[in-house]
Symmetry: D2
Subunit: 241 residues, 4 copies
């Protein structure tokens, strides 16, 4: 079955900033969605200002992987929708959190930490080095991705130790950052990918699109369906023997 | 400096159940506290029904490691106190969560998952096997701990992958469980230790006391004091060169 | 492209033991190979007593995932072939090591530890519990696999901490074991899967075949092709700025 | 008991290079040893050209943590001594491998990978960022260590995923590196610490000395003494019940 992806975008910067509009006239989500469609995925989009933020029960039930970009309006995301997305992740949906989504309610809830970091916005050079070449998310990337201009995010990044670390970023100004972080959560998976400040054309870069595509394939699971609770009966053969 | 430990207990079972009273007439916390004192730690206790649950700002500021036992009254723990403990963990305090504390608000908030599991209460035999003999929490334990009668907890245990897994439990009835789980969270550390149902004398057992003592030493940190936020200036030497 | 798998078997027990012959008249490798072929993989077999143990440079160059079963003749495997397999793993080939292969030269070389364990051969019951339901190797397995009769392997299993732990075994006789262990090594991946004593029909069981199939899909990589060595030139833009 | 540390140095550069002699007139090992003595440890030194490389059975039996620096003469280290050190690590001794020791026989044997990397020797600036502030090896370090001039080591560093990653290095020339890597191996522990090219005064820097001291405390264990092999008897209570 074709993988079903929903690209969610806060999509507020695009409404108020001409700088952002000039880079992403139809919003960042449309650029990401188009790239994934061209690679054969079944993609829809959703944004904050839609009803239920575009994340109805039906949409989530039919989403294998949800991509999340947010920044200036994290607090406008309703707690009810966050709980709904959270439950769906634990139930098997993949979640890819991009860039400033590190401070989103859903990411912090899934991480259990502050997700704080250092930042600087001078458009410096970034290099994302592959530190796990056997990981599927690194497929086709080569040794590193170079972004001519990006916002800097620096360590300490207050996240749990990643279950798998795929990329480490180098910034011209002197910082490093764990930029590609994989997590298992319940029956679902989470991937955090650092790049993508709204004023740079990062999401047009083929290598960045390739990582997001790879991450979709990695994050999709069949949802093993664990059960919990009271198990009154021990294994029979033990008691009988 | 002597390590300062606070043993927190919900202490409700002890008030209403004669079965529990017969095992822990002064509460589980007093048994744990006494064991740690005898090993040289500086120990105080706190319980749910005290003012602010006994966890005032001053108490937490003077606690290096907090031990947590709760079961029937997780929802009576105020969100404000949970937030206070949470902030203190990220700021460097160690936290040891015991047994049914897996469902406490503080543990679930720090884990980011449901922390659900399977359980059975027939007093079956448990063996906690050491799977990381070089870990300080396994010091002095030998190959396994055997508990004649315990409540069963079974996989799947819905927690993040432990940063270090020290014990795996075997239960006579047919289940296994990740019973000693270490986590880094911010500048603090968390250890989950499975045994300790309120109707069994588990906390009197020297090997169990040894693990809790070892965990206190492991969980205490100096609190490295990371900083976050805007870093406007890149490294000077780069721009100058 | 169809995944190319080579199933390697020491195949000595099958030659000398009627007990083994009665279970695996054509060798364990043929049963495993047939199961993978039926699931659509491109499978060949190789055995110890063939020239170069059946693992010529050409065979390995055309193998995406190598499956390894060995027990009584680990020392008859030539160091040259071990080095060849080792180099191929670091270069991107997947390796699945089964059961008594824990003591093979290739597994110990890749692990860096003794790979020792406890064992007992009384045909007791084993249950392999899924502890990471979002892992692709657990796909389609449910909560656990039950094997009516198997050899026991017990902790401490002297391996490095698995990069991902998928299964933990319970044995009727009182032991536990980390039974499904994933490792990244260079550009390749390694999966250790515990079950498969030569006198039990373990490899005929569909759930066991499913795990081996899942592991083949997981272990195959595209081989990212890292480079190493002298890099005389720093990034230009830094020196120029 | 006071921790007993042996600082091992190849000590060949110091014999043939005036550049190295001018920085370390008595060898790098003496500088490291002196720093650790001043912090209260019981320290001896050993070098390649001593009998048995100074690593007799008696020396190793009385060493809690061994520190290893080697570079130009890895192949002159006898396989017998490597096996002896290896067995002692699995038996509980801590091992701290410094800088170019990444290519030593003992480190590669314990890792199971090539341990290859990229390098450049132009004396560029290095910053080691703390990425796990709750780890004991980061105690007292602050947010990062800055080294004015060092040799560059760059990713991909072909090591197994560290069990704990404490530092990530930034280099002015454009690379990053996992610079502080913890591993469990058997009953022992291994810490790899990147800095320390022989022509720079890195080991005189207090923060570097602090890390090595912290690592000694972390790496020392009590040696839990696991046992392996045949366990003919299952747990009695199961059979009896």
């Amino acid at each position: 079955m074709t993988l079903r992806v929903t690209v969610w975008n806060e999509a507020r910067h695009e409404k108020i900033s001409t700088a952002v509009q000039s880079v992403y006239p139809h919003g960042m989500h449309t650029v990401i969605a188009q790239a994934l469609r061209e690679k054969g995925l079944d993609v829809r989009t959703a944004t904050l200002d839609e009803l239920e933020h575009g994340l109805t029960v039906e949409v989530l039930d039919n989403t294998d992987v949800l991509i999340w970009w947010g920044h200036m309006a994290h607090h406008d995301v309703s707690d009810e929708i966050v709980s709904r997305v959270y439950a769906r992740v634990l139930n098997g949906m993949g979640l890819i959190v991009l860039h400033s989504g590190h401070f989103s309610k859903i990411f912090r809830k899934l991480m259990g930490t502050s997700c704080d970091l250092k930042w600087r916005e001078i458009g410096e050079k970034e290099r994302l080095w592959v530190v796990n070449p056997s990981h599927p998310i690194a497929t086709g990337i080569g040794e590193y991705i170079e972004l001519e201009h990006e916002e800097m995010y620096g360590e300490h990044f207050d996240i749990p130790t990643p279950d798998q670390l795929v990329f480490i970023s180098w910034f011209a100004g002197g910082e490093v950052f764990r930029s590609g972080c994989c997590y298992y959560r319940g029956c679902g998976k989470v991937f955090y990918f650092r790049p993508g400040h709204e004023t740079y054309p990062t999401y047009y870069q083929p290598s960045v699109q390739q990582v997001i595509y790879n991450a979709c394939l990695w994050a999709a699971t069949e949802g093993a369906g664990m059960t919990y609770g009271h198990r009154p009966h021990p294994i029979e053969h033990i008691l009988e023997s």
